[in-house]
Amino acid sequence: MGIEILEHAFDPWQAVADYRSNHLARSKSGASAVFVGTMRDFNEGDDVQAMVLEHYPGMTEKHLQALVNQSMSAHNLDDALVIHRVGELKPGEDIVLVATFSAHRKAAFDACREIMEALKSTAPFWKKETLASGERWVEKNTAG
């Protein structure tokens, strides 16, 4: 299992390729499901110029590990990788990567979505957006 909190921009596709070649027997896991969330330049009707992502160092990693572990057991995954940005972001930068690896596609799909939904509803991250008119905290995530 890989859990990373990054303070700098990252390439999620390169990260998946690297993780797969370093950690997985490629001919074992027939199914890889991946979700990537990218910062948009609009939200709730407003142009967003930048964003700051805050987290709770220590708790965030621990919480992500627990929820990924639970999904890995529930779906009998071979492996999973979660990467999440923190700090200052610009539109177009990637925020989150969830990748799941399994022998079967149902497990990979189900677990990828489950981890992503659990992350959005429970992992301690908070977004503050910079608009032309000033800053605002995002108050709540939308349901998936």
Partner: protein, 76 residues
Amino acid sequence: MSINVRFFASLKERIGSATLEIDAQGITTVRDVWTSASGQEADEEMLVAINKEYAALDRTVADGDEVAFFPPVTGG
């Protein structure tokens, strides 16, 4: 004999600090920690962690605990 209190995101701005140390004397639950640290009524949408794990407002706290308060999460 103290509790380490932490605030995050909009709560941190509202309270005006990220960390506080409060005297554990007379403190039983997380709700007591909040009232003592913030001087405000507890907001039921607020989330709580004790020692970096989610907890409820009525949970008992112990001397030396790290008690964190934060708004609904918005990552991903």
